[in-house]
């Protein structure tokens, strides 16, 4: 049987693109034919559920019954991956709760694959979050995500500062989400469909849509670059691995320069 995996996506700050990264991951798993379920912690109405309604449940991560809905079913569900989009400010508390219920220890024993995508904010304050979360990570696969999707000038900190923080997490791997053309971002938001569905020119119902070919092209290209990042870190390999694959190179591919240049 495939070892279950829990993927946490969070940040202590809002508006940094957690749900966007979650959506790209759900599209990625679907494309790679890995069955996934998702939990949206933005109660009462979650953004992730709007895009992936059939596989997403909205939960309150602070409520024990909801915690049970998620973590007690990790082994029994037919989904190989449980993806949790953590509401802003709840990443550290959630990690603490997972430690308290013994989830982190289960991950250490190798019963569960535990992956954390930490979406970094644009200020140096976000780096302090890294230190906070690191205390709870245990053997989790930890990815720090710079999300450029809506930003051209994102990180204020310089390389030296950046390096000093990253040294604290030697196994952490950096991922970059490139910029997507604003109009394409808006149109996908309006369409309220997964990125892959937008590219396929379909509505949520599966009926044909009439999205702009240009915008679909931009989304296709962008999503391809994002998925290339997930391939680079060997994300799929984590799902079924008995032991963690060798840590990938922490720097993104040159393709990301395209996003920075635009």
């Amino acid at each position: 049987m495939t070892k279950p995996a829990v993927v946490l996506i969070g940040a202590d700050k809002g508006g940094v693109g957690k749900t966007t990264v979650a959506r790209t991951l759900l599209d990625y798993f679907a494309d790679r034919q890995v069955r996934a379920r998702a939990f949206d912690t933005e109660v009462p109405r979650g953004t992730l559920k709007r895009f992936h309604p059939e596989m997403t449940d909205v939960v309150d991560i602070n409520h024990v019954p909801d915690q049970m809905r998620i973590f007690d079913t990790v082994n029994s569900t037919d989904a190989a991956i449980s993806l949790i989009d953590i509401r802003a400010g709840l990443l550290s508390p959630t990690l603490r709760a997972l430690r308290d219920i013994g989830f982190i220890d289960a991950a250490k024993k190798g019963d569960i694959t535990f992956i954390v995508f930490h979406i970094l904010g644009p200020s140096i304050a976000s780096l302090d979050e890294i230190a906070d979360t690191a205390a709870y990570l245990g053997d989790a696969k930890y990815f720090m995500v710079k999300n450029f999707i809506n930003n051209t000038h994102f990180f204020e900190w310089d390389e030296a500062t950046h390096a000093s923080y990253f040294k604290r997490l030697p196994d952490a791997v950096e991922i970059m989400i490139p910029k997507l053309v604003e109009m394409a971002t808006e149109q996908v938001e309006l369409a309220s469909v997964p990125f892959a569905t937008f590219i396929d020119n379909k509505k949520q119902s599966g009926d044909p849509a009439s999205y702009s070919f240009v915008l679909r092209g931009y989304v296709r290209h962008w999503l391809g670059n994002v998925w290339a990042e997930y391939d680079r870190i060997g994300l799929i390999d984590f799902m079924d691995a008995k032991e963690a694959p060798k840590a990938p190179v922490g720097r993104p591919r040159p393709v990301m320069k395209l996003a920075e240049a635009t």
């Binding site: 109009m183 394409a184 240009v214 915008l215 679909r216 092209g217």
Partner: protein
């Protein structure tokens, strides 16, 4: 959509003023003369541009922002069967291909039964060679054909800077055009279609013929290209568009090799392999036949020129011989006059000696005899 393949021509070069708009105009009017649907798009940002020449057929497009790109590229893959022609200015060159590549335009075009062909106007600059090589590597879903435009600029030969990437066996060749005709076709009021249908007032026969031949040669190549791109069945079987007006002058005594319906040099004889085209090499397959046809055409033209020169030389020789004969006669007459003049001089000398010198000498003797 009827399922037919429609051609899409991208006329481009990273260099300026080398005939992109001219080729776009010719292609557009070629379709108009065939009475077939065509839409032209003008990516130029300086005049004179395609919309200046064909305001009713061409549309200005601006792809500098996403909204403009949507208006432009979404229309290009719209479901209709008409040919589409894009005149890409040197300034829009880089952005056009960057966007096209990012959004997967040529792949999408293929999915919509559109056959894209990049007509890349070559020149000797290294920048052009580099751009050509780059396109040949990156635009694998579009056919790529070099255009050698002698009408506007010096197109490179094989030895020029185009390098290895310039070695495909075929090209679209825009022949040389005389200075006065170049000035004529550069006028914004000039229309190839109108010229084809009616003789412009005041245009000398020789120029009329020259331009007409030039257009026929270009249109012949367009026809071959189009058949390679979209197949044969949906296209007219004539080399040049219909509604042709009769020739006013016949510079060649031999048969008009490009007259439709005749078999010896008809376009049918230079048709390429008619397989559906999927990669650039397939476009280029017609090259040897086309080259043969063009060489034969060139030989005909050269032969005509040589005969005309020989005839002119013979005429000049005859004139010279007549002149020589005339001069010889004149020389004989002068010689005769000179002989007669000399005879007269002898007579006069004799008379002077007899009548003047001899008596004087005699009287002189008598005077000496009388002296003391």
């Amino acid at each position: 959509m009827t399922g037919r393949t429609a051609p899409l021509y991208v006329v481009c070069s990273p260099s300026r003023c080398i005939g992109k708009t001219l080729v776009s105009r010719l292609l557009t009017e070629f379709h108009v003369l065939d009475d077939r649907p065509v839409a032209a798009f003008d990516l130029a940002d300086e005049g004179p541009q395609l919309t200046d020449y064909l305001p009713e057929l061409a549309t200005i497009a601006d792809i500098s922002d996403t909204r403009g790109q949507m208006a432009f590229f979404d229309r290009l893959i719209a479901h209709d069967d008409g040919a589409k022609i894009i005149d890409v200015s040197h300034r829009a060159f880089k952005n056009f291909y960057a966007v096209a590549q990012e959004i997967g335009f040529f792949e999408e075009a293929r999915r919509h039964s559109i056959a894209p062909l990049i007509l890349f106007i070559v020149d000797p600059s290294p920048k052009t060679a580099e751009a050509y090589a780059g396109l040949s590597r990156s635009c694998t879903e579009a056919s790529l054909l070099p255009v050698r435009n002698q009408a506007k600029t010096r197109a490179p030969t094989d030895g020029d800077a185009l390098g290895d990437a310039s070695k495909p066996l075929a090209s679209l060749d825009i022949p040389l055009l005389g200075f006065s005709l170049r000035a004529l076709i550069d006028r914004q009021s000039f229309s190839f279609g109108e010229f084809w249908r009616a003789t412009p007032v005041g245009l000398p026969d020789a120029l009329d013929d020259e331009l007409r031949d030039w257009m026929e040669e270009v249109f012949l190549q367009f026809r071959v290209l189009e058949r390679s791109l979209v197949g044969e069945t949906m296209l007219p079987r004539t080399a040049a568009p219909g509604l042709r007006r009769p020739r006013r002058a016949h510079r060649r005594q031999s048969a008009d090799v490009r007259r439709p319906g005749e078999t010896s040099r008809n376009v049918e004889s230079i048709l390429p392999n008619q397989r559906a085209i999927g990669i650039p090499e397939q476009v280029l397959k017609f090259a040897p036949r086309k080259i043969r046809a063009i060489i034969a055409e060139a030989i005909d033209q050269s032969g005509d020129a040589i005969v005309a020169k020989l005839q002119a030389a013979a005429g000049r020789l005859r004139t010279a011989e007549d002149r020589i004969s005339q001069l010889e006669t004149e020389i004989e007459q002068v010689q005769d006059r000179a002989d007669r003049a000399e005879t007269w001089l002898q007579v006069i000398r004799k008379e002077i000696e007899e009548k003047l010198i001899a008596p004087t000498a005699a009287s002189g003797s008598e005077i000496e005899d009388l002296s003391p």
